[in-house]
Assembly symmetry: C2
Homo-oligomer: 430 residues x 2
Amino acid sequence: MVAATAEVVPRLTTALSGPLNSIESTILDYQARIESWFRSQWRKTSVPLYASVDLRNAGYKIAPVDTNLFPGGFNNLNPVFESLCIQAVQSALERLDRPVDSVSIVPENHTRNKPYLENLAVLQRIFEKAGFETRIGSVIPGLDKEMQIEMGNGSSICLEPLRRQGSSLLVNDFRPDLLILNNDLSSGIPDFLQGVDQFVMPPVNLGWSDRLKSVHFSFYRDVAQEFAALLDIDPWFIDPMFRNCGEVDFMKRAGESCLSRNVESLLKAVQKKYDEYGVSNDPFVMIKADSGTYGMGVMPIHSAEEVHDLNRKQRTKMATIKEGQKVTKAIIQEGIYTHETWGTPGRVAEPVVYLIDQNVVGGFYRVHPQRATNENLNSPGMYFERLAFDECCNSPDKEQSPDAHPNRFYTYGVIARLALLAAARETKSL
Amino acid sequence: MVAATAEVVPRLTTALSGPLNSIESTILDYQARIESWFRSQWRKTSVPLYASVDLRNAGYKIAPVDTNLFPGGFNNLNPVFESLCIQAVQSALERLDRPVDSVSIVPENHTRNKPYLENLAVLQRIFEKAGFETRIGSVIPGLDKEMQIEMGNGSSICLEPLRRQGSSLLVNDFRPDLLILNNDLSSGIPDFLQGVDQFVMPPVNLGWSDRLKSVHFSFYRDVAQEFAALLDIDPWFIDPMFRNCGEVDFMKRAGESCLSRNVESLLKAVQKKYDEYGVSNDPFVMIKADSGTYGMGVMPIHSAEEVHDLNRKQRTKMATIKEGQKVTKAIIQEGIYTHETWGTPGRVAEPVVYLIDQNVVGGFYRVHPQRATNENLNSPGMYFERLAFDECCNSPDKEQSPDAHPNRFYTYGVIARLALLAAARETKSL
């Protein structure tokens, strides 16, 4: 655990308004009850190996907008948190019913995406320090021998071809006890990953070829309702409303009426909530590819008419996502303003929280200097404030104000764990 | 997790000589094998809730000299490690077969020992942050209502009387699911702690009224042998040799011949090892009360004759220990030089490692400005270098030298876990 000096830890500047402070106070007041409830949930449903959760904090509302079960970005975590990651990995793998001594990380096929390669290097280091022999088993088509990639900072990373032998997967001649997917399988589950006799975490059918955001957020809705009942708050404070359309084709303008109908009804529902709580912002929604990732296939919409007025460029952008996959289903999600800003002048920021097992192990801010408070920040031009989370998310401090860093980070950790619980139930339902 | 600034983290200065560097190298080289072995051990034997282990590092040898299962001193850990403690506590209590939501810490009866009260406050905070309602249930005789103690830094701690109702223990009207003993029960197990229907951790019969150092170090000897075989090293590099005498009375000079015979044979055995490895130091041994704690009843001895030459003052000091308990059994333990020094001019120092569940969660150095490298440092005049462990013990870094901080701390963590495993087997054997 490296001690960070005060200078390298930028402070978050926010101008929060409205009832969030009361959400944070409530969460802080009920901390023991909340943790007891989480414990009872984890006893019922086992958690995914890891996850990252994008949150939006509007002041009057804080909610997850995306839950990633194949998180990249471990390189953006404060190194101070590394020993928490190590301990969480040890605890997760000890619970398996067969001993695991060796692992292979199965990454995305990127070879020139330096931040992604750094993420891989950090993941490999965490598993190695946790005491597991760890290799990187790539599924890059045609890769027939190891590929050493220099990362520019004097260190390098070694990708080795993953190959099938009988019902096992090998990395060269190394047979890992456990395969860790860090590849979201957007293009589908490759045949050679099917019916493998080793542990595979997360399970292959959690990849984006099978998974739908609308299914995840259905599970999340139930979780949010149970949690809100526990705290006696309106679940809307933590839950983004949504609708979905099962058959769309943006190029052919198919499903447009479903989209515009849903946009209209959702905008009305959001306005009703805004009226109830005296929120003066204009409601908006996000149309997202229901299986999308990497921030692709995401568009803010402010009226039903806008859906009909999309120009060719906008429709093209929505029609295909990562690895050229065609978008055939869409989710229309309540847009949540992010009222957190970074630095002076304030750049729009949103927190991203990382989890290993049921533990919150860190987080950072995604910042976008050219985006507004009601836009998708996961887009070209964004950057990460790596050391933003200078305190850990599991350490609330009741002697400080509900808005103090350890307490805000604790709230973020609670909301992120609600999304994790939704993902756990989603996994169980497969 | 608080980020410490570089200024508040003193560096350890050492002048290590001899083959230790090679022990550290070996441990580093075999890290994956070692962690795999520990995992298999924890599957076989469940670990105590917490422990602290005193180590001595002679350069050519590093070994535990005392294993405390009711550790005080959590206040001496670097606050940076607090989130590791929180996560470890959560993981330990989740594994119990009934849900635990509330705990009571049962402390020593100190009310004016400020460092001990600070330790209690830190322990209470860790359990609260981990999400458990936490009260302090004191067993101070005659305490019939709560006692609020100001700690001088604006904070206070509240001791409440623990009382029996049927087969339950209550703190006022609060019925904790779990009682955490932070009292080593030197004077015996009070009746009201017997047959309690709540969880009690650690079990009451691990208190010093029942426990013997010689039994612990018998278990440790076996552990050290298995571990040494795994690494193909001489177990002596990590194991303090010992003898024991079952019937001594220092005041009546009973058992003196047993003591002197054992001192002589042990000194010879140590000299033989010193000759084998070319160590030029003079061998010495420590005579310790076999059930002693708080550094009481400990004496360095350099020859068999010394045992017969003890003056009245020395014998009085050995005859009674904590809470006036009479010493009737003794362990004669190989003395291990500590070749670590702190600061300039160098003051003699020894590491103390803290564990929660099977996780190393931190440590510090015990420093004594008036003691020599072959003396007991746990004695009046000692102090603690609180922030000494500026990096975590679970994060070895193979790109640095075996002697670099993260790697030395990792080695300390490994040796401390060997002592923890011995304590786990000791607990199982009860």
